[in-house]
């Protein structure tokens, strides 16, 4: 869906982005991550030509974006930034209607779309339509920001640290909600963050950048299991084994041995990280795994968790 080919951008003598090649399949959430100054935001902003590249190609949906009108391109790509940038003089409804209005949709269609989107992002249209940005909390503003970006149903979304300015509790909630919305809508997303935990949570694939170069591009599981070099290993953190366990589900690591009646119970939807924590607190060597109906599906053991954590 998005292809970056030897993409390069220089600011003065230094290359902010240096011959970057990344292929993002349709429906993927690709997280660009790295220390500040690694070129992640510059890369993202070249995709909708907020910054013009010096060399290389960018394809979005099979079209070379350097050959189409920048304004037309931006109307077809969702854009969400950390500071949200809601228009303070417009109501929430008018903010959400921005791109449909630019595209010349008729009023009835726009009005219907505003309600649909506000409901999608968990804001009651009756209550929020006529409000103004300054009356909203940070989390509510970013909900509107995402609704506004989704308004014309763009296949591709660019999100630059969308949860960066939000308190941790609200952030976790928004991450969960938006992850499920964006997956359901099958949007192809380029997501910029500097938070590795957010990257692991949100991404199907993570691209780790350093000084404008791609160091590793892989699934979160693979990056945690096999960091490409010392830089990645340090970047993902010393607790990478534990982070990796949080991506693995107990349902995939069951054994069929008999379950002791006193064993603690775990849902099939739990992660191995959760299972390990439970086993450590209960002091047992295994826990019973039960499905939604309450039936025992098998057991998860310390041995299995250890094997999963070290499997390469």
């Amino acid at each position: 869906m998005i292809k970056l080919d030897a993409l390069t951008k220089r600011f003065g003598r230094t290359a902010a982005v240096d011959a970057l090649t990344i292929d993002i399949p349709e429906g993927d959430i690709c997280v660009l991550i790295g220390p500040s100054g690694c070129g992640k935001t510059t890369t993202m902003r070249m995709i909708n030509r907020m910054i013009e590249p010096d060399a290389g190609r960018i394809e979005v949906g099979g079209r070379d974006v350097t050959h189409i009108d920048a304004v037309e391109l931006r109307r077809s790509v969702g854009y969400v930034i950390q500071q949200v940038g809601l228009f303070p003089h417009m109501s929430i409804a008018e903010n959400v209607a921005t791109v449909p209005r630019l595209l010349g949709w008729d009023t009835a269609r726009i009005e219907g779309r505003i309600d649909e989107l506000l409901e999608l992002v968990g804001l009651d249209p009756a209550q929020f339509r006529t409000r103004y940005p300054r009356e909203l909390s940070g989390g509510q503003k970013q909900r509107v920001g995402v609704a506004r970006a989704l308004a014309a149903d763009p296949p591709v979304m660019l999100m630059d640290e969308p949860f960066g300015a939000i308190d941790p509790i609200t952030r976790a909630k928004l991450q969960d909600e938006f992850l499920s919305i964006l997956r359901r809508l099958r949007k192809t997303i380029v997501f910029v963050t500097h938070d590795i935990d957010e990257a692991i949570k949100m991404g199907n694939r993570i691209a780790i950048l350093r000084s404008g170069r791609l160091v590793q591009y892989d699934t979160p599981e693979a990056i945690l299991a096999r960091p490409a070099d010392g830089f990645v290993e340090e970047f993902v953190g010393a607790d990478r084994a534990l982070k990796r366990l949080s991506l693995l589900m107990v349902a995939d690591h069951l054994d069929d041995e008999p379950v002791s009646p006193s064993a603690a119970k775990l849902s099939t939807h739990a992660s191995l990280h959760h299972a390990l924590s439970l086993l450590l607190t209960s002091g047992a060597d295994h826990a019973a795994v039960v499905d939604d109906a309450g039936a025992v599906r098998g057991r998860v053991t310390l041995e299995r968790i250890k094997a999963a954590a070290t499997a390469h």
Partner: protein, 217 residues
């Protein structure tokens, strides 16, 4: 009180003459303000686009212009343009430019860069960003500049009398020359009222045109 009464009687006895003076005063003010706004607001937009040393020079020039006494501006204009309505209009326009330019520039510059970035990112053209985002957000500050300029121009127009521009200033200068207090009041009181009226008018316009989302609660 007796003096005010005399002044009032003078107006009643010379209605056409008074109406003409007031008319000249108002049209001088309105024309000067309109021309100044038509020049200064586009100039402010251009300066924000241009930025850098040029913008700095423009704003500094406007700030210097702001410190010039009104009388000095009129005095400077007379040797070059002579006397009458046109030179007075020119001088008053010059007087009105700085506050409008400075406020419009400041108002446009104060628009949050993230708001402009998101507008660009959603596919607004530069013209759309100016019309739909920057000008509406800067409107209250732009109107504050117009308000300052309006009050300055209405009171400054009194001085047009010195260079034969006419207006209510004629009564004031004549009143001073003839030591006639009531004649002085025939000019001074209406000018004061006009000035207060202009201030109130622009305050009301500013309030009315400020987008709801930007109004103080």
């Amino acid at each position: 009180m007796a003096m005010l009464q005399q002044a009032w009687l003078y107006i009643l006895n010379n209605p056409l003459q008074f109406a003409k003076a007031a008319g000249v005063h108002v049209s001088l003010s309105v024309c000067a303000l309109s021309i100044a706004a038509a020049l200064a607001i586009p100039a402010a937009v251009w300066l924000t686009r241009r930025g850098g040393a040029v913008a700095l020079a423009g704003i500094n020039a406007a700030n210097i212009g702001r410190t010039l006494p009104s009388l000095a501006v009129l005095a400077l204009v007379m040797p070059v343009l002579g006397t009458g309505f046109a030179p007075s209009l020119f001088a008053l326009t010059l007087l009105a430019l700085p506050p409008i330019l400075i406020n419009a520039y400041t108002g446009l510059r104060e628009v949050d860069v993230d708001v402009i970035d998101s507008a660009r990112g959603m596919g607004m053209t530069m013209g759309e960003i100016l019309r739909k985002i920057e000008l509406p957000i800067a409107l209250p500050v732009i109107f504050a500049g117009l308000r300052t300029a309006a009050v300055q121009v209405v009171s400054g127009a009194v001085l047009a009398a010195f260079i034969g521009g006419g207006g209510l200033g004629d009564y004031i200068t004549a009143g001073i020359a003839m030591m006639s207090m009531h004649l002085l009041l025939v000019g001074a009181v209406p000018v004061t009222l006009l000035s207060i009226g202009a201030d109130a008018l622009f305050a009301a316009l500013q309030k009315r045109l400020t987008p709801k989302g930007l109004q103080a609660t």
